[in-house]
Symmetry: C2
Subunit: 346 residues, 2 copies
C-alpha cells in the first residue's frame, strides 16, 4: 500500500493545474487591491515548511514587483509583544492549516495597523481565512501525511500567481500555466531517485546547496529529509557555503546540489567543482547538460524549465528522495516520531 506521503506527492500536478486555472479571477481581484494600496514593502509570516514558501515570495516580489520583502519574526508579536509597524506594507500569512497561532498573531496586529492582508491556506473557515478579506484557498484536498508536499507546492504556486498577476508579464503567465506539466515530468525521475536513496541508508548527515531563486528549494529539501528520515540535513546558499561551512566537507560527505539552468548556473558550476575537489558524494538536481556530464549521480529536471519556477519543480525530487530514504530505512514516513500536523507555537 502506498503511503499518504507518496500519494500526495503524486497529486501535485493536478493540484497545481487546478489552482492556476481556478484561482485566476480571485488573484486578479486581490492584485487590484494591492496596486491601489501601493505597498512600500511586503511582510510575510509563516512557520516551518510554509517559511520556505515565504522565502520564495521574498525573491519573487523583490525581483518581479520591485518590492522589498520582510519575513516576520513571530516571537515579536507573541513572546515580546513589541511588533514592528507594518501599516505601509502588504502582509501575507501562509499556513496549511490556517490556524498557526503566531502567524495568526502577525495578521491580527497588521490588521489593527491598517495593512491589507492576504492569507494563503488549505482550510476554508480557519482563523486565518476568517480574519482576512483576501484568502487564496489552495483546494489541495486533505493532506494526511505529516511531512507536507502538495500544500507546500500549492502555496508556492499561489505566491507565483500573485507575483505574475501583479507585474502583468504575459510570458511568465504562459510559463505558469505549464507548471503542473513540469512537475509531472520530474515525477518520472522516481526510479532514478529510488536507486540513489539506497546509497544513503547509513548516512547520518547531508548538505543541500543551491543559489539565488532555488534558496527555498534547498531549505525545503533539507527540511523534508530531516522530518522524514532523521538525517541531519542542512541547507546553504552556495555564496555562504564556500566561505566558511564548506570546511565541514571531507571525502564521501553526502551533498545534494540544486542547479537549474539560468542566471545562477555559472555560480553553481563553480560550486559543484569545489564540492568535487573535496571528493564529496554528490547528487546533482539539474537540467544543465554540461554540469550533468560532470557528475555521476544526476536527477534530471525538465529541459525547458524557467528559472523562476525551478524552486517549485526542483523541490519534488527532494520529496521523493525523502520518501524513498525513509522507506529504505523502515521509517513510518506519514507520522515521523514526535511530530504533529499543526504547528501550535505561541
Amino acid at each position: 500500500m502506498k503511503t499518504h506521503f507518496e500519494t500526495e506527492i503524486y497529486a501535485q500536478p493536478d493540484v497545481l493545474r487546478a489552482l492556476v486555472e481556478n484561482k485566476a479571477a480571485k488573484v486578479t481581484d486581490i492584485v487590484a487591491q494591492i496596486k491601489a494600496h501601493d505597498p512600500s514593502f511586503v511582510m510575510i509570516a509563516a512557520r516551518g515548511t510554509s517559511d520556505n514558501a515565504a522565502t520564495y515570495g521574498k525573491y519573487l516580489f523583490s525581483a518581479f514587483n520591485q518590492t522589498p520583502v520582510a519575513l516576520a519574526a513571530p516571537s515579536l508579536y507573541t513572546l515580546y509583544q513589541q511588533p514592528p509597524n507594518a501599516g505601509k506594507g502588504l502582509v501575507v500569512g501562509i499556513s496549511q492549516s490556517g490556524e498557526t497561532p503566531d502567524v495568526m498573531a502577525v495578521l491580527k496586529t497588521a490588521k489593527q495597523q491598517g495593512a491589507p492582508l492576504i492569507t494563503i491556506t488549505n482550510i476554508p473557515g480557519s482563523p486565518m481565512d476568517t480574519i482576512c478579506d483576501n484568502t487564496i484557498l489552495l483546494d489541495a484536498g486533505v493532506e494526511k501525511s505529516v511531512p507536507a508536499s502538495k500544500t507546500y507546492t500549492a502555496q508556492m504556486a499561489a505566491i507565483a500567481m500573485l507575483s505574475v498577476y501583479w507585474n502583468g508579464d504575459k510570458a511568465m503567465l504562459g510559463e505558469l500555466n505549464r507548471l503542473g506539466d513540469l512537475v509531472a515530468e520530474v515525477l518520472e525521475q522516481h526510479e532514478t531517485i529510488k536507486q540513489i536513496a539506497q546509497r544513503f541508508t547509513e548516512t547520518e548527515y547531508m548538505v543541500v546547496v543551491g543559489r539565488g531563486f532555488t534558496h527555498c528549494a534547498t531549505y525545503e529539501i533539507a527540511l523534508k529529509i530531516k522530518e522524514s528520515t532523521y538525517v541531519v540535513a542542512q541547507a546553504f546558499s552556495a555564496a555562504d557555503f564556500r566561505h566558511g561551512p564548506i570546511a565541514i566537507l571531507d571525502p564521501g560527505f553526502p551533498v545534494i546540489a540544486v542547479a537549474p539552468k539560468g542566471k545562477s548556473i555559472g555560480d553553481m558550476r563553480e560550486m559543484v567543482s569545489q564540492i568535487q575537489e573535496r571528493d564529496a558524494d554528490l547528487v546533482l538536481i539539474s537540467n544543465d547538460d554540461e554540469l550533468c556530464k560532470q557528475v555521476d549521480s544526476v536527477i534530471r529536471l525538465p529541459a525547458h524549465l524557467p528559472e523562476w519556477l525551478a524552486p517549485i519543480v526542483a523541490t519534488v525530487p527532494g520529496q521523493l528522495l525523502a520518501l524513498e530514504l525513509a522507506l529504505a530505512k523502515g521509517i513510518d514516513v506519514d507520522s515521523p516520531r514526535g511530530l504533529h500536523k499543526v504547528t501550535y507555537t505561541l
Copy 2:
C-alpha cells in the same frame, strides 16, 4: 602560544567598551538623519557571520524602533540584476572588510534609489566606507583569525547603539554601557567550557537551539563551530525545531541550548524538557537558576543580563567552545581548511 582566535575573543570587552564610548557622537548624528528620513522599513545587507549581526538588527529595529526589517538577497543585485526598490527604506550594509562585493552592490543600487545608507565595517577607506556618508567604524584592530569574533560582537554592538539612540531609551543606554563588563564576566566560564569541549572531540554533528532575540546567537555559534571544528552544527529556533527537525534527535545527540532569562525563557524551559525526554546530550548556556538546576552541563551567563543584549554576550561561550573543540581536535583554528578572510561572492 595563544592562537589569534583566542587573543581576539579576549579583546572583546575592551573593543566593546571603546566602541560604545567613542562612537556615541557619530551614532547620535546618524540617528538624527534617520529620523529626518522616517523610513518605512530597514533593509540590511550582509554575508556569512555578518548576516547573523543582520538578524540581530532585524529583532532590534522591529522591537525597539517599530520598523520592519528586510534582509537583502544579494543575488538579486548581482546574478539577476532585478533588485527591489528600497527608496522608502534605510539601507544598512555590514561587512568586516568593507569590501564584500555583493553587499557593496546592494549599497550602490540603494544609493541610486535614493535611500540613506549606513555602513558598519572595521576597515576605514574600504569601498563600503567610501560609498557611504555614514560609516560606523568598529576600530576593533586587525582581525587575524579567519573565524571572526571581535569584529562580529562589535558589529552587533554598533547595531544596538543605532537602535537605542534611535528610540532614546535611557535605561537601555545604561545597559549598553555595561556590555563590555558583561562579556568580560562570561569569559570567566572558559575553564568550564574547556572541560565540556573534551566530551565532543568525536562528535560529527550538533544542534544549537534558541528562541526570539537569541536566534542570531544560535546561528553564529553553529557557524563558528562549523568553520573552526568541521562539526556539522545546525541552528534552529525552538519554535521551528519542535515541529519537525526535532525528529533527528536520538539518545546522546549533542545539543546546545541558549536560554537567557527574559520573555523567551518559558518557551526554552519547555524546549529543554523536550530535548531531555529524548536523552540528548545537552549543554545549556543560561542564567536561569531553575533551568540550570535541571541540566548537568551548564555554561553560566551573567546573572544580570538584559535579554536584548543576551545575543551578544551568549555568543562568546560559543566562540570559546569552537576554540577549545578545535584545539582538542588538533585543528589550526586561525586558518581552517579551504577558508579565506574576505568574502568575494558575486
